[in-house]
Symmetry: C2
Subunit: 339 residues, 2 copies
Amino acid sequence: MRAAFYEGHQKIRIGEGSPVAPEPGQVRIRVSHCGICGTDLHLFHGTLDSRVRQPHVMGHEMSGVVDVVGEGVRGWKPGDRVAVRPLEYCGTCPACRAGHEHVCHTLKVIGVDLPGAMQGTCTVPARTLHALPESLSLEHGALVEPLAVACHDVRLGEVAAGEHVVVLGAGPIGVLIGLVSRLEGARVILSEVNPFRRLLAERLGLETVDPREVDLPGLVDERTRGAGADVVFEVSGSAAGASSMTALARVRGRIVVVAIHAEVPRVDIFRVFFRELRILGARVYEAQDFEKSIGIAGSGALPLASLVTKVMPLESLESALRQLDGGGEVMKVLIRCSE
Amino acid sequence: MRAAFYEGHQKIRIGEGSPVAPEPGQVRIRVSHCGICGTDLHLFHGTLDSRVRQPHVMGHEMSGVVDVVGEGVRGWKPGDRVAVRPLEYCGTCPACRAGHEHVCHTLKVIGVDLPGAMQGTCTVPARTLHALPESLSLEHGALVEPLAVACHDVRLGEVAAGEHVVVLGAGPIGVLIGLVSRLEGARVILSEVNPFRRLLAERLGLETVDPREVDLPGLVDERTRGAGADVVFEVSGSAAGASSMTALARVRGRIVVVAIHAEVPRVDIFRVFFRELRILGARVYEAQDFEKSIGIAGSGALPLASLVTKVMPLESLESALRQLDGGGEVMKVLIRCSE
């Protein structure tokens, strides 16, 4: 089978991979599609070299079909259409024991810490599988993982009907948070500096602003009659986002930190005190978020096709990573992993 | 009646004040005792000059006895022993309309924005009054307000029996948070650089550490078998506190921001994301926190006498403020306002 190997120094080599026979409790998936995520760009740039063993197969946003079922696995059979919740946890650390396996102290992500989906087949624990309905194509099944991130974020943010939501950053996750919030009945404004991303979000019916040109706190105050936003999602990972998130939220409003902040930014915790704000971190997803994501994706409620900029063959992975790097007119790129 | 007038430039003048006749809905209190708070030090130093009209009477931690009852006031009569919840709110802003009057957008604090208790009598809205039980002396009644702050903080932090709590900063509020958390059944560590404050907290049976000499994250990890603290209270107002609060909390742990941060500090929101931490601001108190505070104070469950360093006459207010300024061997100072 073909596989795409990251070999360091922004180099992807396409070569022959070896299918892995499933151990007891595992399942081998014939990978259909796999999305490219910001984390994959970090991998490509070597930022995560300490976590990967080269040559490394990246890819964690996968859909596929069950190929071979390992010993002792029940409930799955060859041919089943699935998405993979790509998390491996220890089960014994304090977070796992408290029921928060998705933030296990030694969490391993399939495609980052373990071999991923940018190859013909991928062997994973059976407990990571979620069934895809017939109504959902395998191509769009690769969007279940990023959509589950958004479902997790919106759930922890407790977004409710009629609430005012501001999303800082309109990349794929920001747009999905906006769309899921809207499904919950919220009124959404997306703040984004990239004009292509604004255009795409607007085509999806979401209101967007360029925060360099619009007085966003003023606009939110106007919309909320001086109250402020009920929920703010910080998805930009920027110092500007960390600064404005506290300025936008109403008294007792919720601020959900979704982005990875490489730098430690300044945060106005006087404002947190003064308005009794609540800042909460949201990382990956839990099983229920995958189920919610699959339900939404399968229902046709979201224009998933509009989110996919391109579908490219495995051979084009390196070129796709370089295009995403440019930050230009690209939203989500999917890779076709097996023919 | 005597009154202590702040006249700017770290000057308090003792002079003759005029008792204010209560308007409809108001009550005049004969002030018994009034505590000195960090906010009063800020007032004394002129930091809050833009909020006060000079000559200004400070003091918001008061106990007293009802003296004169205004028109239309029901439920109160001369001689009733009371504490005052010193907040005036607008009732019409978005925060008030949402039921969060204590963080009203234009909140006024009696003793800061309005004349306070460092005088023989003080006239306040009847709705700010809380009855004191016979079991509680008027002297200790002046501790109801700071204790209510601690009750609010512990309530919002959802401290539960058996939980591990770390309090950063062991001034009066930090110590009270530690004591109230212990009443809830939590295990408490106070972190404080001032040796006098550590000594006093230890005399109250609280465990303390000097964070410059002890590896606090290491200690918390040891106590919690690597989990981290369930709840962290940031009461130091320091950059060090803002930094260590995220390092100490367990996965999904709560961090309660109680201190006023004059500078905008750096906050590790990557850690907030990575451990799904929850940071929440807690400001002043609500009516239920005053009732809880009075219940605790009246029950004798806390060694209130040990918290009071000195009781001084009104004439000594300026000298008391200067002693507190030194940050030396002083915890809570009460002023006797009427003889």
